[in-house]
Structure formats: structure tokens, C-alpha cells
């Protein structure tokens, strides 16, 4: 069946043609107005950040890769291996296997400690729930965001890696910056 537009054909309403003066304004003045921004930036100089040589400072509450902490005075691990972070984690990427402290082998302050503490960072969504769940402030979200690697298995961070200081500190944004 052939189509007859009939009454419901779309009627295109066009604006009036700009005319000579209006057309000229549009071609030159508006373009110049845009170029003003361009030249202003050129005058400002180069803004590219030369990552990875240069890094953007992050906000102090930026949620980067996790850190596990030790007590400064005793050197004992704060984590007691309670697994609450693993329970809180929506991505199910934390694995804790606890063990018992003995007088000869004391790792944490409580009765138990984490013999295995692993976070699979390829799964982590950096929500920070683990930090909120921890009753001992043993795990916090650090500021490091450089975690790419060549092997998936290298993205499983062990307790030793999480306890260690990051090789390079991520610059922090100063107050009010």
C-alpha cells in the first residue's frame, strides 16, 4: 500500500533567514568569541599533566587501594582476623583465614590474627565498606590508585603487600586546594 501523506504530513517551520548583517555577525563575531577562550588558554601555557612522571594529587578521602595497619608502639597487627570486612564486602573479594596467637608467635593484639588476608583488587569496587565494617581500624582505604598489572593473579594483594608502605606515595591535595 502506497503512503499518502495527507493531512498529517510534517510541516517544517523554518526561522527567518538572518539577513546580511545578522549573517556577518554570525560568521565573524561568534567565531571570535569562541576563539577568545582558545587564545586565553594558549596564553596560560601548557596544562597537560605528564602522567606517570607527574601525578594529580588526590583528596584525602579518596578511596584507593587498601592499607592494613600495625600499632605504632608494639608493632602488632591491628587486624584480628574477624572477617567482618569479608562479610561487608559487596564484591566478595576479601578472603581471611584466621589463626590463633601463641605466646611464642604473637601477631596481633587479640586471641586471633589473620593468617591469610587477601583482597582481590581486580574485583574490588572501592566502596569502602570494609573500612566501615572494621572494628579495629585495621583496614583503611589508602590513596594509591596505580594498580594495573599484567597478570590477574598479581591483583590479589596479600597481607604483606597490604601492610607494606606503598613504594611511591600518592600526592595528597592540600587543605582547600
Amino acid at each position: 500500500m502506497s503512503w499518502t501523506p495527507g493531512d498529517d504530513a510534517i510541516h517544517v517551520v523554518r526561522p527567518p533567514a538572518p539577513g546580511a548583517a545578522g549573517g556577518t555577525y554570525r560568521v565573524f563575531a561568534e567565531t571570535l568569541r569562541g576563539l577568545k577562550t582558545t587564545f586565553a588558554r594558549v596564553a596560560e601555557g601548557v596544562h597537560t599533566i605528564q602522567y606517570p612522571e607527574q601525578k594529580v594529587p588526590v583528596y584525602p578521602r579518596f578511596r584507593g587501594r587498601h592499607r592494613l595497619h600495625k600499632f605504632e608502639d608494639t608493632g602488632l597487627e591491628k587486624c584480628v582476623g574477624c572477617s567482618l570486612c569479608a562479610a561487608a564486602c559487596p564484591a566478595d573479594c576479601i578472603r581471611v583465614v584466621a589463626a590463633e596467637n601463641t605466646p611464642e608467635h604473637r601477631v596481633s593484639a587479640g586471641e586471633r590474627y589473620a593468617a591469610v588476608y587477601e583482597i582481590n583488587l581486580s574485583r574490588c569496587i572501592f566502596c569502602g565498606y570494609c573500612e566501615v565494617a572494621c572494628p579495629f581500624d585495621a583496614i583503611t582505604m589508602g590513596n594509591d590508585y596505580e594498580m594495573s598489572d599484567y597478570q590477574r593473579s598479581d591483583l590479589i594483594f596479600t597481607k604483606e603487600m597490604l601492610l607494606a608502605e606503598p613504594v611511591e606515595r600518592t600526592p595528597l591535595r592540600a587543605e582547600g586546594e
Binding site: C82, L84, A86, A98, A99, G110, E111, P135
Partner: protein
Amino acid sequence: MPRPEPKTITFTIDGREVQAPENTILVDAAKLGDVEIPVFCYEPKLGAPVGACRMCLVEIEGIPKLQTGCSTPVKDGMVVHTQTDRVREAQAAVVEFLLINHPLDCPVCDKGGECPLQDISFGWGGGRSRFIEPKRHFQKPLELSPLIAIDRERCILCYRCVRFSQEVSEDYQLILHERGAQTFVGTFDGHPYVAPFSGNIIELCPVGALTSRPYRFRARPWDIEGSGSVCGLCPSQCNVTFTVRDDRVLRVLARQNDGVDDGWLCDRGRFAYQAIHVDERITEPLLRDGGTLRPVSWERALDEAASLLKKAGSRVGALAGGGTTNEEGFLLQRLVREVAGSEHLDAAGIDPVDAWTLLDPALQASMQDVEYAHTVLVVGTEPVDDMPILDLRIRKGVRRNRVKLAVATPRPSSLDANAALSLRYAPGGEGAFVAALTAAVYGGDIEAPAAAADASVDEIRALAELLRTGGDGAPGDVVIVWGTSMLAADGGAVAPALLKLASGLNLSGREGGGLLAVPAAANERGLLEAGFAPGMAPGFGETDGEGEAHAVAGIAAALRAGDLTALYLLHDDPLVTRADTHGWDHALEKTTAVIAHSQFLTAGLLEHANVVFPAESYAEKEGTITHPDGRVQRLRPAIGRQGSVRAEWWVLTELAKRLGTDFGVLTGAMASQQLFAAVPFYNGLTLDTIGGKGVRWPADAALAAAYPAAPEARRDAVYAEAAEPNGALRLGTFRSIWVGADVEASPALKFLAPRQMVEMAPSDAQRLGVRHGEKVLVGGDGASVEAIVALRDAALPGSVFLQTGITTNAANVLDGPLVEIRKA
């Protein structure tokens, strides 16, 4: 006592009308109306409530004060409120009070995540404490026993553990010391709490005060999965839930099934799971090569086993151990009968015709009958060793339902203290004793058989009187709990006498009464029913085989004589599990081919096996096993098979295939189907109908009707006389609950591994001049074992008792019936 028949009443709770059986405890009745009343101390399994914690307070119209829901039975027309301000305030106050001395160290507490105290504090607590004073402190954590850790700071003094010890297991060890805020739980003498059922208090404790040491800090509830199955370590076949993390079994919990275990487990069932994950376990096929067993591929092992079987032709014997499932037994009997053409297979070592007559569904008592009978007779078995959970059931019946208990055993029994009557007869006098008892019930000559059993005629008369009249002239249901080891001891006489006794007491076809066999091995009944018995096809049918079918002892003799040249051992090692070690040693020496399935390299396999297939553990198996009361139960795999272990049904099917027969079994479920089709009284069972709770086929009229009529009992049976000591001593043997490769391999249970003790009457000891705790040599001609003297007051003079099955100094080497004792 007859089972209560409750009438239904209607009561109102929180504005809802709810129907419940009359006198149900309010806490339970509330659940029928979807109302939860929080509890700590209430646990119906423990018997009468004590009302210790006050967590369950509710308001009942017409009663001015708040009432404890855990100790108030519902009545018709009762109006209960659980949501009023008064109740809420009381609940918050109780939580606050319980937490006064509670450390709330949940992050390091093993109960965290599955803790009723956490849940109730969260759900019903006020969320705030006004208590700022120091809390009470105890040293922690402490070992209550090598299996249980106690943290007294966390204890909320609910009494559950103490009630268990005092009123359920009746070991009377746990008590509360001191008073008031100083109260703490401990054993009365400060010694470790070591008892066969101690582990149950871990599950009972509503807080983290009592925790399992083997499970300590292993996992959190969100790290684990629960997997329901059945414990395959002893005939009790308790229903369990395996706690699995990362494909390892980390814990075993009870899975309540009132028809089986009543919600309890023994410590062996609770802790021997550790043997699944030890290095000693065989996880690859082994082949003897130049004198030593070496790991080989499955192909090689199967080919080798097949060629050994082919060479042996029909000269094959087969033994199956207790952990064998019905399907495995069924397939192995097909392999031996159909493929090899031999008739020589046995598991139980008892005459299958005896079993056939005694397992008749009309005579069968159930586990629950034990609890509600008027009189229970325990004869020829020690339940705590042979079928531990039955021990708790008997105690429960006596304590709560005033069941009259009679105990008749050669060895002093742990149930003696609960028994209305307990008597002794001489080991070896089983047949004579039952004959004497039957005569006392029926009329006939008692004196001669009683003398042959060295039992007192008066006591036997009193026992008969108790069985006949229930003690108070009201004859009622009688359950006879008997050990199948009696059949092995004097089968010819015991079975007909037991049958006669049962008919004299009108037990046939009686609801609530009957016989309950206590087998010597976990799935003895299932193997008999699946046709793994000499001369008896599946379902007690005829076999096609001709000539004599050898039983255990016959197989050993035939191997020694060279009439059989190959031996198939399915979860068995005759050097460990069977009597007459020397005879078997000799027999295995002569056997050309020994093919075994085993989890561990036990003595006989290490020395003699040619091919060893790694066996599945009970947590890896699928299939069915049959409870002594006829309940077919289903094993479900909780974890993957460890190492390169493969299913036994697969191995047996592969072997048959290599020998030219296709069993047509491609999955475990197909093996079950074949079994259910082959056994008439299993017809129509499916794995689905068996489900999580099992099916008692004797209770199903259609299945019970399919039971083939058993032959007439032999009338000419002559009982054997117990040997006359004449200065020497009669030898009786028993198997402790702690005997088994699983216990030996479990690190947590190692401390319980039994040492050989010789139990004897003080008068004998005095005569021989030996003291309690002294080391002696017990021996007949030739062999002797070293043992420590243990004096038992209730022992029958003239008899001594030694353990079988232990690793060193087992009594299996002695042939009796008389032994002498020398100082070591």
C-alpha cells in the same frame, strides 16, 4: 510409656488466634503463629525447662506478673502478648543485665555471626548499657578439654551445658561452681571434661563460652557452606551437617532427626572428620611393585586388578567393612557373583538366615520405640561403644518417660546405674543365656542353660517377670535391644531363642515394641539387605550359586587351603577388624591377589595388598545406608573427592567392564536405582523420597509386605556352654567407641586412642595377686597381649574383658575361650 496424644487447643498471641497441641511450651506454640519469643536457656532437647535466663518473658492476661514463655504450657483460651511496652522493657532489661559481665569481644569470638546473644541483643536489646563498673574477669581462653575451649567471661550462666552433662549424657562432670556473680562452669574436680558426648555442649552453648578447639578460628558463618549428610562411622548413622570451606570439611554439626539421633552427636562423629584431610590418607591408586606399594595411574591399577581377578577366576573371596554403602555392597556382590562366579562374600560374619528371621519388619522396633516403651531390655551389647546415640536414647526414656530398663551383658555396662535390673552372664554363654531367659518367660528348664551361661537363676526369673509384667503388673511394649555380635558368638542358639522370646512377649506386629539390633559395623543391616552375605541374594533372595558359600572364617580357611586365591577387600582389613589375627595373617600370606579399597594403609594392606584403590571418605560418598531400625538414609557428597580418589561404584563398574560385563551404571544414582529394583522391600524408593530424613521401610506397609517370608526357626538349636574357668579366666572382648582408623588419623582425637586394659572382677585380681593399674600379660597358648589391669566391681568373677581393634595389643590375636594372666 505410651506416646502422648495431644489435643489441639486455641490461644491468642499478639491478637492472632493460633491452634496448637495442648501443653506445648509457649515458646514453641508461638512459632506456630509466627511469633518469635527470644530464649537462651530453653532447649527442648534438654528436657524440662529451668527458666534460668528470663529472656522469654511475656505477658499473659489474667496473670499479674510477666511469665517465662519457656516454662509455661499453653492452655485453651490463653491470651498472650509479646509486644507490649512492659514486655519490651523487660526484654531490654534482661539483655542489659546479661551483658553486664559480657566482654562483647565478638571480633575474636568464634561464635560471632552465629551467636544468639548477638542476635537477641540486636533484636530485643536496648542498645545501651548504664554499667560502667569493671566487668568480672577470668583467665581465657582455657581448655575445658582437648576438644573444647572455655571462655568464662562470655558465659551467661544459662545452665545448658550443665544440664546436658547432668541430665542427658549423665556423665555428671560439669557443674556450676560458686554463687551469684562469681558463678562459673567447670568440671566438679577440675579435670578436663572428657566424655563420649562432650562435644554437644559446643552446639548447645548460646554464646561463645564453649567453642570447638579443632574448629577454633577456622571460619566465619559467611565463609562456609552447610552440607547435609549422614555420619557413616558407626551404626547410629546420625544425621549431620558438614561445615565446608574451600572444599574442606571443617566441622560437623548435628542435624536433628528425631527418628535417628534426637539432635545429638558423639565426639567421634563430631571430630573424626579430621581424618578426611590428613596426609596419611591414600589419594592415588597403589600397586605393589617389587615388594612396595607405589602410586600408579588409574588405568594401570584397574588393568592390573582386572587381570588378577581374571587369573583367579571363581576362586575369589570378598569382604566388606562397615563404611560400605548399600550400592557399593550391591555392586561388589554383582562383581563377585555375576562376573567372577564365586559365592564367597561376607561382611557381618553372621548367618544371613538368622538375620533374615530377626530383621523381619513385624518384629522391628524403631529408635523412638526405645524412648516410649514400657520396658527396654539391653542384651549382649554396650550401646555407648556399639551405637553411642542409642545410649542417650535409652537414658532419655528412663529419665523422662520412666521406661523400665533391664541390662543383661557379660561386661559391666554403663547403663547399669539406670537399670531397674542388671545381670551378668559369662562371655561365650550368649546362646545359653537367651535360652534360659526364654525358658523363664515360656516355662521350661531354666537351671541347665543358666548354669551354662554362669548366670543366676533368680536374676533371670526376675528379668522374665519384669519383661512379662512391666514390673507393675501392667504389661506393655517391650523393646529388646540386642547386639548382633551375639549371633557371631553363638548364632545357632541365639537367633531361635530370641525369636521365641519375642513371640512369648507378643512382640510380633506390635506397634511400639519389638527387636532392635545393634550391629557391629556401621552399615551391617544395609549390606545384609543388599545381598552382601554368603548364600543370600539382594533382598534375602535365593542365589544361583551352588555349593557352600563361605562366611568370614570360611574365607580365611579357604584362602589358607589355597581353595581361594584372590581376596577383594572393600573398606576392610581382616587383620584389624576380624577375629583370629594369626589365621588371617597366614591366609593373606597365601593369597595371590589382594585387591583393596581403603582410605588408609592399615597393617594388612601394607603387608599384603597387591592393588589398593583410594577410597572415598563418608563426606565424599553418594549412596544409601540402612539404619539398624530399617531407615534407609542417603549420603550426599559434601566435598569433592580429594586427590585422585574416584567413586567406588565407578571402580567396581570399570573392573566389571574389563572382565566383560557391563553393569550399566554411569552415575551413583543409577547404582541406587539398580539396588532399589533388586531388593523387593526397597522397590519404589527413590533418592528423592529418601531425602534428608530417610525412609523407614519396615514402617511402610507396602514395602514391609514385600519382605520375603523367613524360614521357620530351627528348633533343634543347642546352645554352647560358656567355658569353665577352672582357675583360668574366660575371655570376653569388646570394641571401644574410640577404635577405628578415622579416630587414629584425627589429630584432635589422638589423645583418646584406647590402650589395652584388662577388665576383671576384684576377687579374681586378689586371687591372682594383681593390682589396679598394674601391667600384665594376658594370653592363652601361643599369643599374649600386654594390658593394664582395670578392676570393675560389677564384673562377673571368672571372666576378663579385652578390647579388639586397637592398634597395638589388640585382643584379636587371642583365640580364647580361656586365658591366663601373668605379671609383666
